[in-house]
C-alpha cells in the first residue's frame, strides 16, 4: 500500500488535468509572442513603406517551403498521436521520427536563409544595416528577434519530440497505476482491477467506487503494448509542436508576403 501511495503523491495520473496544464502553458507561449506581434504592429503602422521595401528582400520561395515543411510536420505528429491511441506503436514511432526530421529541415533552411542575409551585411548592429532607414533597421531587427525566438521554439520542440520518441520506443512496462478520471484512456485495453488487498477480478468497465486501478497490458504480438502515460506525453508534445506551427503561420505572411 505504501508504495502505491507514494506513486499517487509523486505522479499525477489525471490526463485531462495534464492536458489542461499544457493548454494553459500554450497560452503563456502565445502571449510571449504577442509581445513581439504588438511591436511588429506598432512599428509597421509607423513605417509601412519601409517595411514594404524591406520585405521584398526576403526569399518567398524558401519561406513557402518552410511553411509547407512545418504544416506537414504538424500532420505527421497528429497521425502519430492517433496511431499511439490505437496502440499502433510502430506507426507512432515512425511518425514522431518524421516530425523530428521535418523540424531539422526547417532549421537547416532557416540557417541558410540567415547566413545569406548575414553574408550581405544585413544583421543587427551591422554598418550596412545601420546605414538604411529607421523602418528597415527595425524591420530586420524584428525579423531576427521573432524568427530567432521561433527557431528556438522549434529546437525545444524537436528536443521534446525526441524525448517522447525514446519513451515510446522503450519496452512498455507491465504495470501502471491510474486514478479514475482517466478511464477513457484505458478503453481498448484489458483491465484487472483490485479493491483492498485480496479481491482481484477482471473487468471491462471501471465503477465509481474504485479508487485506484492497476492496469496490466497484455502484449499483442502485432501491436506491441503501449505505456498509457506516454499517450498523454505525446499528445502534449504534439500540442506544443502545433503551437510552433501556428506561430509560423502568422510569421510567414507578416514577414515574407506583405509587400
Amino acid at each position: 500500500m505504501k508504495n502505491i501511495r507514494e506513486i499517487a503523491l509523486e505522479e499525477h495520473h489525471d490526463f485531462v488535468g495534464a492536458k489542461m496544464g499544457m493548454w494553459l502553458f500554450l497560452l503563456t507561449e502565445l502571449i510571449l509572442f504577442t509581445g513581439l506581434f504588438i511591436l511588429y504592429a506598432m512599428y509597421r503602422v509607423r513605417h509601412a513603406a519601409e517595411f514594404h521595401a524591406a520585405a521584398t528582400e526576403l526569399d518567398v520561395v524558401i519561406g513557402t517551403i518552410n511553411t509547407l515543411v512545418l504544416l506537414t510536420s504538424s500532420l505527421t505528429v497528429a497521425v502519430g498521436i492517433e496511431a499511439l491511441k490505437r496502440r499502433n506503436r510502430k506507426l507512432a514511432k515512425w511518425m514522431v521520427l518524421l516530425t523530428v526530421l521535418f523540424a531539422l529541415t526547417f532549421l537547416v533552411n532557416k540557417y541558410f536563409e540567415w547566413s545569406a542575409k548575414i553574408h550581405h551585411g544585413i544583421f543587427p548592429g551591422a554598418d550596412e544595416l545601420l546605414s538604411r532607414s529607421q523602418g528597415e533597421i527595425i524591420y530586420f531587427n524584428l525579423y531576427y528577434a521573432m524568427t530567432g525566438l521561433h527557431g528556438l521554439h522549434v529546437l525545444v520542440g524537436m528536443g521534446i519530440l525526441l524525448w517522447v520518441y525514446f519513451l515510446i520506443a522503450r519496452k512498455p512496462s507491465e504495470k501502471v497505476v491510474v486514478a479514475p478520471p482517466n478511464i477513457e484512456y484505458l478503453k481498448g485495453a484489458q483491465l484487472i482491477a483490485s479493491k483492498g488487498e485480496q479481491e482481484r477480478w477482471v473487468i471491462d468497465e471501471i465503477k465509481d467506487d474504485v479508487v485506484e486501478v492497476e492496469v496490466v497490458i497484455k502484449k499483442d504480438p502485432k501491436k506491441a503494448g503501449v505505456d498509457i502515460p506516454n499517450i498523454i506525453k505525446l499528445e502534449n508534445a504534439g500540442l506544443y509542436w502545433h503551437l510552433v506551427d501556428i506561430i509560423w503561420i502568422f510569421l510567414f505572411p507578416l514577414f515574407y508576403l506583405i509587400t
Binding site: K19, M20, W23, M42, T72, V77, E82, I246, P253, L257
Partner: protein, 97 residues
C-alpha cells in the same frame, strides 16, 4: 479490443487529418498568390484572415480542440481575448500620438 468504439471517442481518422493538411497546403498557396495582387489596403487583412483560418484548422483538428470539453474552449478564448485587448489598447497610443 474494439477499435470501433475507441475511434468514436477519440475522434479523428487518419483520412480527416490528411484532408486538413491538404486544406492547409491549399490555403498556403492562396496566401502566396494573393500577396502578388497589389491591393495595399486589403493585403494585411487578407493575409491575416487566411492565417487565422489556417490556425483554426490546426487548433480544431490537429490539436483536437473540436473534441475537447468546454473548459478547453474557454481557456483558448481567454487567450484570444487577452491578446486582442493588449494589441487593441496599445493602438490607442500609437495611432493617435
Amino acid at each position: 479490443m474494439s477499435h470501433h468504439s475507441h475511434e468514436e471517442i477519440h475522434g479523428i481518422g487518419y483520412g480527416i487529418l490528411v484532408l486538413v493538411w491538404l486544406g492547409l497546403v491549399v490555403l498556403t498557396g492562396v496566401t502566396v498568390v494573393a500577396s502578388g495582387v497589389h491591393v495595399p489596403a486589403l493585403a494585411v487583412v487578407i493575409a491575416l484572415l487566411i492565417a487565422a483560418t489556417k490556425s483554426s484548422l490546426v487548433v480544431s483538428y490537429f490539436m483536437h480542440l473540436k473534441y475537447e470539453s468546454r473548459i478547453f474552449h474557454v481557456i483558448l478564448l481567454m487567450g484570444i481575448v487577452t491578446i486582442a485587448i493588449f494589441i487593441g489598447l496599445t493602438f490607442f497610443d500609437v495611432l493617435f500620438r
